[in-house]
Amino acid sequence: MPSSTLSKTIRSSSILFVALLGVVVISVGFGARGFDLCDMLCRIGDGSQTTQAWTILLEYRLPRTLLAAVAGAGLACAGVIFQAVLRNPLADPYLVGISGGGSLGAVVCITMFGQNRLLGVSSMAFVGSLIAVGLVYGLALLRKGAGYINTIILAGVIVGALMNALMLLIISLTGSDEMQRILYWMMGDFSFADYPKGAVAATVTCVGWIAAFSQANRLNLLMVGDESAANLGIDVSRMRTFFIVVAALVTGTVVSVSGTIGFVGLVVPHMLRLAIGPDNRVLLPASFLGGAAFLAGADCLARLVAYPTELPVGVITALVGAPFFLYLLLRR
């Protein structure tokens, strides 16, 4: 008789929690001079250079690591949800146009108001994401029935492309001198991390995760097909809307604070599904912790591999994610 789902959840979550803690310690501990966490703590301990060490740890490295972890958690969970709801293992949180909409919002803000208005960039990106999802979902509602899921996917691709085109149009017309900022934004950027941003992203991600996990059985049912799901006791269109709204809010929030980081929402759920199976009661907690560890680790690499130049974190996730994605495609 297979082991119980609860023990599977506890086991996988414990392992990933330890992994996440490890990654956080390493990420906070690594700086320009290699792993200097002990050194830092010693300096705080013996009273020399206390303020400076605290500043580096608490105001630079920690918020950044936490923001990366929160973003990873949110993207991975949103990936799990979108893959289940769209019944497509190759779906990712950006499929429904969120990244295009978010980028457009961010670029509008950067080109018009300059890069100092970071709060503005975040909120504009958030609004852009939600407009895109709203458009996609509105289009899908026009065509209910059997083709519904495909409509979401196609509309998502089209709306995403449209948003990207608009974004490039704005960039070309304004001749923005903020190209690097925009480029970094599109590849994901945690260098503007601070606690308020982290707090907002963490709140939305955690609330979204709790909402999704509290309905995890129903997310499982959505994976077996609309009619079977209805016959197993759920109101399919209502549950699907619920999950899409939750995942879109989480993704939109993450995009607004970190830019568009690819592959996390695609690869992390997949890796975990290979390891622990498709049951969302196991997968949602695991993706939360695993996504957090994955992106915090990737950000740590992004900071350090080409020091003093900092890579956009999306470069790292893509370098890890693309080969893995190819492997999945070839394996199918």
Binding site: P2, R87, N217, G225, N231, L232, R273
Partner: protein, 279 residues
Amino acid sequence: MSGVRRLIECDSVSFRYAVAPILQDMTIAIDAGAFIGVVGRNGVGKSTLIRILTGTLPPQRGVVLLNGRPIGDLSRRSVARKLAAVSQTEPSDFGFTVWEEVMLGRSPRHGGIHFENSEDRAIVETALEKTQIAHLASRTLDTLSGGERQRVRIARGIAQQPEVMFLDEPTTHLDLYSQLKLMELLRDINKHGIAVLLVSHDINFVAQCCQDVHLMHNGTIPCHGSPRDVITPDNVATCFRIHAEVTIDPVTSIPLINPLKILNHDDPVFLDPLTRNSG
């Protein structure tokens, strides 16, 4: 009035997807313990009938009652505690194991988040044993044959502990051995107090399997009754547009159809009304 409890009552229901009507004044009832087979040609609306009866498709006219209450007024969850449906196919891209898939049948008994308890596990184990797939418990669905996958869906239906189980074309992709095993399984399910309604184009299977055969034609059920009463050469000609030889097994008195040729539109038998309208 008989003492048998009426589970589902479908009263003069009409339904159309686009222009052409699928169901027209369809009336059908399912009593506790019934074993009903609905036969009809491809595209006559058999699957639609199941969707209407399970409440996943609201009819445009008429009403379906589940235990006396309109099915559309009930939550999907309370419907799923009474009715289980075994569809022809399902997507299986995510790699659920047989055990996990059958465990999904317990969902209507629990809320949004629930980890299976010992009762759920015992029920799933029984369902796996009854359907003889206990040895497949840890296999993923995509490694199973069509017949095995169907047994998984039936096991999931059993785990729902329903009052009625619906099956849509259960003999598709099954060889004769598997068909007989399916028949055995369905009889066993029925014996344990679950009413069964299956729809099929396979008239011989239905004749052999079901006590109560409903012929479906032109969006309604013109006649139903014992296989012997309903499956006559004339009725088969009208509903299936074929000329068939019907022989009655002397021991079981189950009719057996041997299709001979397609009937043309000018063939007189095609215009004949159905010969029997037994109730």
